[in-house]
Symmetry: C2
Subunit: 585 residues, 2 copies
Amino acid sequence: MRISVIQFNPLIGHVESNAQRIIAQSTACRDRGFDLVVFPELALCGYPPLDLLESENLVTNCLQWASHIAQQTSGIDIIFGMPLKNPESFGKSLLNGACRTADGQVQQYWAKTLLPDYDVFDEGRYFAPAPPNFNQLCSLGGVRIAVSICEDIWYESLNHLYQRDPLDDGLYAQADWILNISASPFQMGKESLRHTVLSAVSRRLNKPLLYVNTCGAQAELIFDGGSACYDLNGNKIASLPCFEANEAELTWSSGTWLAGVGWLSREEEDAAADVTGGSFSDIGSSDQVQCRDTRFQAQDAGDSEHELGQLRSALVLGIRDFFSKQHLTKAVVGLSGGIDSALVTVLATEALGSDRVTAILLPSPYSSAHSVEDSLELAGRLGVQCIQIPIHDAFSAHKESLEQAFGRPLGDLTEQNLQSRIRCAMLMAAANEWGAVLLNTSNKSEMSVGYGTLYGDTSGALSVLGDLFKTRVYRLARYINRSHGLIPDHIIEKAPSAELKPGQTDSDDLPPYAMLDAILELYVEKGKDPEYLIDLGFDAHWVNRIIRMVDACEFKRFQSPPVLRVTEKAYGRGRVMPLVGKYVH
Amino acid sequence: MRISVIQFNPLIGHVESNAQRIIAQSTACRDRGFDLVVFPELALCGYPPLDLLESENLVTNCLQWASHIAQQTSGIDIIFGMPLKNPESFGKSLLNGACRTADGQVQQYWAKTLLPDYDVFDEGRYFAPAPPNFNQLCSLGGVRIAVSICEDIWYESLNHLYQRDPLDDGLYAQADWILNISASPFQMGKESLRHTVLSAVSRRLNKPLLYVNTCGAQAELIFDGGSACYDLNGNKIASLPCFEANEAELTWSSGTWLAGVGWLSREEEDAAADVTGGSFSDIGSSDQVQCRDTRFQAQDAGDSEHELGQLRSALVLGIRDFFSKQHLTKAVVGLSGGIDSALVTVLATEALGSDRVTAILLPSPYSSAHSVEDSLELAGRLGVQCIQIPIHDAFSAHKESLEQAFGRPLGDLTEQNLQSRIRCAMLMAAANEWGAVLLNTSNKSEMSVGYGTLYGDTSGALSVLGDLFKTRVYRLARYINRSHGLIPDHIIEKAPSAELKPGQTDSDDLPPYAMLDAILELYVEKGKDPEYLIDLGFDAHWVNRIIRMVDACEFKRFQSPPVLRVTEKAYGRGRVMPLVGKYVH
């Protein structure tokens, strides 16, 4: 049996275009002699469709297009994910389903049993679990396939989050192999977690397994693909390259997989995934983590070269799809001379091309000369257009009008925020003028503690680095420089500063980033309580102060741009905190 | 049995302060000879606690404070909502529970069975349903009470959204009366819906019913209270005034309710709830709804005086609690001369007092003289401080710097947005300078079609009118003027204009508000597809154009402030749309 595995990149809500691409790719496979084409979870409507599912039209549309796909693709079997109507008389009205078409008709439906309802997932909002006996074996030319959807194979790894394990269903024991179609987003460390789960499932069921994942970005969520096939002992036979929407040939023969063109063998993958770690505290020896306990350092000793490469690919894909799927053509970045905006400009240029990125320098009375020089140097190396819009005059005009109205000089904080907001107005004017889109340059450390001005530097259509702590921003910048040397050394080496008053550096207002990020990672990403951090050896004063800062700026994050998600807990829809109230830990 | 019903207004996350208030109110009731005090759903941690529930500390804290409440309140029974740990070995780790304390100890726990997972509700994210046989009758001095939590009595009204009706449980048949503790938010029309449900439940079970609802606002959600008691035939005996966190005495005697001090009798309530409707299209005869079908007009023929009074109370409570719960003292409103900012200033003054509101006029070269005059007149009538900060100079300075950088004059749209963003920077500077908070003045019609400038007039800490279409803004302003005459007639009567270029009015860019709002209400609030609207008789060109506008500005709404929710579908967490993709209806 010759199978074509498609790491599909759907356009959410545009059923017609997704269907047309399914038809085109499937008929091409049929003409090349394939027996089966497999697309990922909800390929027909895109994942996550969110409240578009509340439009009755969407599901009706999907059902009509599924029939149309069947009619247009006689001669080959296709399996693809799509929403279905729940046949039961109670519960949510939809199922997160899949169908098989063949011989001009829809032949079979399946539905997901375990519906994730945590972090960025809210499938319980829309879907009912598969009704009893809804899922049956798929029999294809004598080969019996058990079809599962994403979360359905994650029961054991999720610590009894669900009542029953769908893999206990007798149909899995009767299958020749297991198919899992997914829409599983990327995050740092997900690759090895996913391998652990897939390996354990194939070993436990003692069945070969084919995993087909979505590839492509949908605003915050970046789907990395990484489709793979496993033997019945849990060994990975081959996998598809991540972050590329591609297709590859797989043959099922004599009870085993033969990976064709497009696959990476296990050996090739291992060679790519060098596991050499960096150092956690690589932004200066004075920034050692103030923690007596070695557990934390051991746990996050930095990202490996492979992980940093994945991170870069994820962010580039995130930017590229955000633009291409919305038919946006041009990006604007405010280049401050600091590392965050430098890295965003590098990533945007890689994603969109240098002709579609414009860097804007917005010097103020407090900008250092080197900030302008460094920025011009970076823009030159990248080959992006670079213009300067000084904010002196606008700042003076605002200041005068305000001071006249208030009858007194502006306060220090007011002046700092004002500069940031004037820059936002200038950047947005440039974006308006050119039909471009502003990229946000805030990092996760700043977003966490509220070190940013609402309607100022927190603005932008997409936050590229909002899920990277500052220490990781440095690691990624150094990683990119090791191969390309794009970012002037001075941008990386100098002390971080907002340059909103004379001689200001971030360390005037914030603790050292190495300590800040270590505490933030445990509190925000791992969900640990302050007692746990203090017990680990972190200084209680800093722990409590930092956590108070995080809790106090929910109102800023509420109005933040969408953040490209690269960790297990990003700001945005995966972390929903009350705005009003008092958090007592 | 003497019962004290408490329409509690909790502070989310501050378990200690909620517990101390439960203790204080309960001991006062005990000292006055009461037998039982009842608090609403999740009174101990506040509703909705959202991802605070992911902190293990929160539940541990609640369990400790429940014991402490019991110890401090010997001599009286107390029932209050709180999160519990799920005793089952699978599923979500928490229950949405309640407990009864008496004689120094926690005596009994209950848990919610039906967990709403739609609109603004996401209880499936956190809670497991009540385990089998977890809920038992409460026996108090020989009186048997069946305790239910909010959604548990809504099964029949929700069209089989859930598999089983908890009211089919035998314990309801054995009870003398039914208790329902709720955290059920206000929306237009909710009062009569709630009455229908409560009446049907008591009638069907043939049992008297006591409904105890939360009162108070939690950012977007406004809980209106409206606690009530019903006899076994579904007749409402009495209810508590809405929008006031108050307590009232109820006696259970000889199988029936005796309502004491604090209750409104059915007759008093009916007198208050005059049902005279206004006219849908009351902003000018040229704005008649372009719809041949009478169904729509019949359905929304305007809001009654009673409904407008509720709306006003809801918004005032929403503003007041947003400020008081965050210890915010001062509000800033940008007064444009238009009806939206006028109404926000009136409501803010009612909520906070005239000494805590400052109106700021930000005239531009395109502002009309009457806009300034009307604004000064309004501020004078309200007695609020009013200052002027002209934006001419800042606008010229921005424009010059930008035109020099671009080498050409700014485009029309860029100039309009720039004025709006300069106003935002000025307003935020004033807020920074005074430790105040900016109130947003956008209405739902503008938010729907993207008629607003991101980081300009879409900014603010709280959107007061973001869930009121423009026609409803007019109705509410006229309602307030009928009793108080606060808003100068000219503000209400003149043609709406953004005043961002000479002679501009909203009708240059937008369809008439009566038609716009009718289409938006069906599409956004009722979730109807375009075919349905066209079938109703709306012009297909306008339907498609307006829906395209709504779909195209998800990116603006993504970064909007929290919106006070007053309808069944407000922008915010209750409406989650993909940012990237193409909606094909």
